[in-house]
């Protein structure tokens, strides 16, 4: 890491690059939305951002605090409903979704429901699926953005809230989830990861600048794969940083405030 950019800024820039132009994405608030806005303002001007509560393709003025708040509707093409967005996903119209989660396993399954063993008396109650289970079931490609440590990258989830590849290749289709869908990329604080096309296990595609294979292993609770040759994540360009800081998140809600 240099002082030119923060880790958060790197992650948002890496996330933004995964989003192709002219595609549809259901995006939550926070870093995923900062990434989508950055993509729109750089290489993907026709990226269509949908919000699960019903907002459609707003001219985003700033980052909303809720996926239903007024900022998800400013200059929008259509004031719709959660049903409209979720059925569009189910119909196959939505390319990307972008999620977080308290725990993730090697197949990209997520837990955002609880820590503990008894749902009726959990050690820590978390929000639950929200739209995550639906979006990861129904959108074509699921991206995940998350801090990278052993508490999060676990060998076994306490609760499988949201489907990744479940138990591996073919498992999604076997339970009835739409064919051809599933986890696509994970952007963590250490690396950019994808999935082995045969085993559907997670593997590192590029290490963020200054991060080693051992750093990843030490912070991952399951056996992580690594592609060969292993790349280094491209650093944010000056242009990406400028747009991110000036146009996407001038208030520093996501990327934090910078020293003057």
């Amino acid at each position: 890491m240099t002082e030119r950019y923060s880790l958060m800024e790197l992650m948002v820039c890496v996330a933004a690059r995964q989003l192709e132009d002219g595609k549809t994405a259901v995006i939550g608030t926070g870093m995923p939305l900062a990434a989508a806005m950055l993509a729109q303002k750089t290489h993907a001007p026709s990226l269509i951002i949908l919000f699960e509560a019903g907002g459609v393709a707003p001219a985003l003025e700033r980052l909303p605090l809720s996926v239903a708040d007024s900022y998800t509707m400013t200059g929008g093409l259509m004031h719709s409903s959660m049903d409209e967005i979720m059925t569009a996903c189910q119909r196959g119209v939505v390319d990307y979704t972008f999620l977080g989660g308290a725990q993730i396993d090697c197949f990209g399954n997520l837990n955002s429901t609880m820590v503990g063993t008894d749902l009726q008396r959990p050690k820590v109650r978390l929000p639950g699926s929200g739209g995550a289970n639906d979006l990861a079931s129904l959108c074509w490609k699921t991206l995940i953005i998350t801090p990278h440590d052993k508490r999060r990258f676990v060998p076994k989830l306490d609760f499988l809230t949201t489907p990744g590849y479940l138990s591996g290749a073919g498992a999604r289709e076997a339970v009835g989830l739409p064919a051809g869908t599933g986890p696509y990329k994970v952007i963590s604080t250490l690396a950019l990861m994808g999935y082995d096309p045969d085993t559907k296990r997670m593997r590192v595609e590029s290490l963020h600048p200054g991060v080693t294979v051992d750093d990843v292993r030490a912070n991952t609770g399951f056996e992580m794969g690594f592609v060969e040759p292993l790349a280094v994540t491209a650093e944010p360009t000056d242009e990406e940083l400028r747009v991110l800081r000036e146009d996407v998140d001038p208030q520093g809600l996501i990327i934090g405030k910078r020293a003057a």
Partner: protein, 333 residues
């Protein structure tokens, strides 16, 4: 390879998808044109009995019927069922009053980017609340099934997960394609509360902006309490029938509550009061502090107007209106 095909789910079904029973209820519900304007207190006294199954419209901190939720706490309603369909501040309020003891949970205890409610977490971790898991889409489609008058809807989500295992859904085989689908049962809440932009005295109601799940929710609920920013003449409703989401025969009570979504956001009217929402979260850290907070803001106020004066006041409300990015266009004035 062992594949996680879930044929049995273990979640409790808190409300039967009894479409014929619901039909009899709806048949008996009056469709006579009558003035339904009443106070929030009266609406809660009449239509929210202890033990009822409740659903809350809007989206947690956006267009929520805060006044009704407060009054439910103030009247110390208990043993309610609650539909946690992206419930955030609404969940926080009812958890503060320990009003519900069973919950269909799609999104609970969190307030999106604002973090988790300490008190709601404690309540959900205490073992006092029986919980059945769903996702936002499937819990919404449970309302939709009810609104459509069918006992279930098929879906392609939930499958293969613990969320599904702890739901009360079922797997079915498609009668045409043979593929496995999730079936989610109709949910007819005993009472729903929805905040709207304008309604007439009969209950014809219009919402500006996204409707979230309220179109279906309004139709699924056996009783419906509307709070509204403005009470308007029916002629104003008839001038813009494209905006009408709720016809009067669905409605049992119309309560005039300006700023009724406070401290949440009311699109086209005012933005959320993030400072006050943070104050709730902060007070919740310590149970004794929070008890005092509730005594001050809920139990110690007569009604929502009292709360609004105490928590915000005119100057702060004016600020929140100025912060609202959606300016009401002349078209929807």
């Amino acid at each position: 390879m062992a594949i996680n095909v879930i044929d049995e789910t273990v979640g409790t079904l808190f409300s039967e998808p009894d479409v014929d029973g619901a039909r009899r209820w709806f048949a008996a519900k009056s469709r006579v044109l009558s003035n339904k304007v009443m106070t929030v207190r009266e609406a809660v006294e009449r239509f929210v009995p202890d033990g009822a199954y409740l659903a809350s419209g809007g989206f947690g901190t956006v267009r929520i019927a805060t006044a009704v939720l407060h009054e439910i706490v103030r009247q110390r309603k208990h043993n309610l069922g609650f539909a946690g369909h992206t419930t955030t501040h609404d969940f926080e309020i009812l958890a503060a009053g320990q009003c519900f003891d069973r919950c269909d949970a799609a999104y609970v205890v969190g307030l999106e980017v604002r973090g988790l409610s300490p008190n709601a977490r404690r309540y959900m971790e205490s073992g006092q609340v029986q919980v059945t898991e769903w996702s936002n889409a499937t819990l919404g489609w449970r309302f939709k099934a009810a609104a459509m008058g069918v006992p279930f809807l098929p879906a392609r989500t939930l499958l293969g997960t613990d969320t599904f295992r702890h739901s009360a859904g079922r797997t079915i085989e498609c009668p045409f394609t043979g593929q496995t689908l999730a079936a989610v049962p109709a949910l007819f809440p005993d009472v729903g509360v929805i905040h709207v932009h304008r309604a007439d005295v009969y209950g014809n109601a219009q919402i500006d902006g996204i409707s979230v799940a309220d179109w279906d929710l309004a139709r699924a609920c056996k009783r419906l309490i509307i709070t509204t920013e403005r009470i308007v003449e029916t002629d104003e409703i008839r001038r813009n029938p494209e905006l009408t989401q709720i016809p009067y025969w669905l409605v049992d009570a119309v309560c005039h509550v300006p700023y009724g979504s406070y401290p949440g956001n009311m699109p086209y009217v005012h933005y959320s009061d993030e400072a006050h929402l943070a104050k709730w979260m902060e007070a919740e850290r310590d149970p004794a502090t929070f008890a005092e907070f509730l005594n001050t803001y809920i139990y110690g106020t007569q009604d929502f107007e009292g709360y609004l004066t105490l928590a915000a006041g005119e100057a702060r409300l004016a600020e929140l209106c100025a912060l609202e990015p959606l300016k009401r266009t002349p078209e929807v004035a």
